[in-house]
Structures are given as C-alpha cells and as structure tokens.
Symmetry: C2
Subunit: 156 residues, 2 copies
C-alpha cells in the first residue's frame, strides 16, 4: 500500500521544507509515502470561499480512483492518541487498498462534498494550525505510528 498526502501548493517556509523532508526520509524505511501538491487554484484570493472550495473539490474528486481510501484532515474530525492512530493505520494497511490518501485542505478549508465522500475525518488538534505546518505534524505522526507498530524506540 502507498500512502499519499494530498495538499495545496508547495511549502514556502524553508524550515518546514527541511523538517518534512527529514521525516519523509525516515518514513521510507517502513512505508512508501509521498506528498502530492496540487497547484493552487488561479486567482484564489479573488474567488468567494464557497466557489474556491468547490473548484478545489472538483480537482480532488477527479483524482480519486476506485478503491482509494480517502481520509480528510480537518479540525472537526476525530482525534486519536498516537497509539490509537498506529492501530488505525494498521487496519487500513490490512484492507487491501492500493492507496491510502490523507487530504489536507487549503487555507480556506474543505468543501462539504469532500467530507461526504471521505472514508474518515481526522483531526490533529483543536487548534487551527497553519496549513503548511499540518504537513510537518502529520508526517511526524506517521513516522511515530510506524515505530509504534514495529515496536521500535523512537529515533530522536
């Protein structure tokens, strides 16, 4: 199974780029994981939010293939401890699906249509985190989950 993290736009801040690449590299030992960065919608700042979200949702919906598992990361999703997340991941990995997709919304959020077609909604925190920092926090949790499942000490 492949894990993909879908998100909008490239990382701007160099410190986030560096941090994400560190965890992404460590993670490859356990899991094939990649970020898929969609180009931001043109003139996004001039669009009304519902229209922007709908446009983004259409891009995403087009990329979903039969058999994909889609999980959205949004503040209103369910929260888990790191151990619970590790177990959750183990179940998904045993499901026979080829792609497990975690979708991070744009700064404007996620369209309801995506929440409806998603298999699950996860939340990292009740706090609103910067869209780009979510990538760092989440990839670290993926790595942590794998060390939990492999019963390995966490590499600090």
């Amino acid at each position: 199974m492949k894990i993909q993290i879908w998100c909008w736009g490239a990382i701007r801040e160099s410190f986030l780029k560096e941090g994400i690449s560190i965890y992404l590299k460590r993670l490859q030992k356990y899991l094939s994981t990649e970020f898929v960065e969609f180009p931001p919608v043109r003139n996004a700042s001039k669009l009304e939010v519902p229209i922007l979200l709908k446009t983004e949702a259409n891009v995403i919906a087009d990329k979903i293939q039969t058999g994909d598992i889609l999980i959205t990361l949004d503040e209103k999703g369910k929260e888990m401890t790191s151990s619970e997340f590790a177990q959750y991941l183990e179940v998904k990995m045993g499901s026979g699906s080829k792609r497990l997709i975690f979708l991070i919304g744009s700064a404007s959020g996620l369209d309801d249509s995506l929440l409806q077609i998603s298999n699950d909604r996860l939340s990292l925190s009740k706090f609103t985190l910067p869209n780009q920092m979510v990538r760092l926090v989440f990839i670290e949790q993926l790595y942590r989950a794998m060390t939990i499942l492999q019963n390995e000490p966490y590499h600090k």
Copy 2:
C-alpha cells in the same frame, strides 16, 4: 506581563530552531515572550523515570515566584480552539500577574507535583508530539492568539 516558556534542553534540530525563531520574532510586536531552557538533568537516561521527574520538578519548583501563573502543557490537559485560547490568554493577561509561565515537560513527562501546583493544564493535541516540536506548535499558537485579539489578518 511577560510570557515565559519553560522547557528542558536546547533545540537540536536546526529546522525547529529556525521555525521557532521566526514566530518568536513576530510575537515580540505584541508580547514580551522568551524561552527559558533548563539544562537537562545529568545522567537522565540512567535514572528511573519517577526519580528523574521528581528531580526536574524540584528545579522547576525552585524557580517559581509568588504571583506567577504556571500552566503545564501536557497531553491530558484541556484542549481549546485557537479562538478560545486567545480569550483565555486575554483573561490571564488582565490578571495583574507579572509572569505567565507555560511549562513543557521533558521527554519523560511531568511530575504529578507540578500538575498539582499548576494553575491549569493545556493540551495541544491528543497525539504525542516530539517534545521539541511542541515548542514550535505552541509559539505559533501564541502568535495566532495575538493576531486574533488584535483582529489582524494572520501573516502567512
């Protein structure tokens, strides 16, 4: 009022250092904020966890002054949205205390005695985050809270 973030040890990863210094700098416009990094307890890895935590707790308790507000950041604390945290901060800032201290435990956690003397316990996430990443996530929330209170757009 001064905000201090108390924690153990210097930041090792350069990307975290960079990220934290970016938010710390932005934050000074609104709030006098500093990190106070206590030197790690000697031979910490050879001590049993309860003894290590007790040793750390003694260091912390020694530094607390009358009138300080002490808030621990730990997974079992209460979670808030960013807006709730901003309001929470506003109340604390209006309390007349000179120091508002947020305490991040070491990788081993926090001794019960500290949880008992603390004025409050906050949690950033149900996930276990790396001790050093907590500093980044938290300083960003402090900055976000100030932009919320000042009704300013968040500087992306």
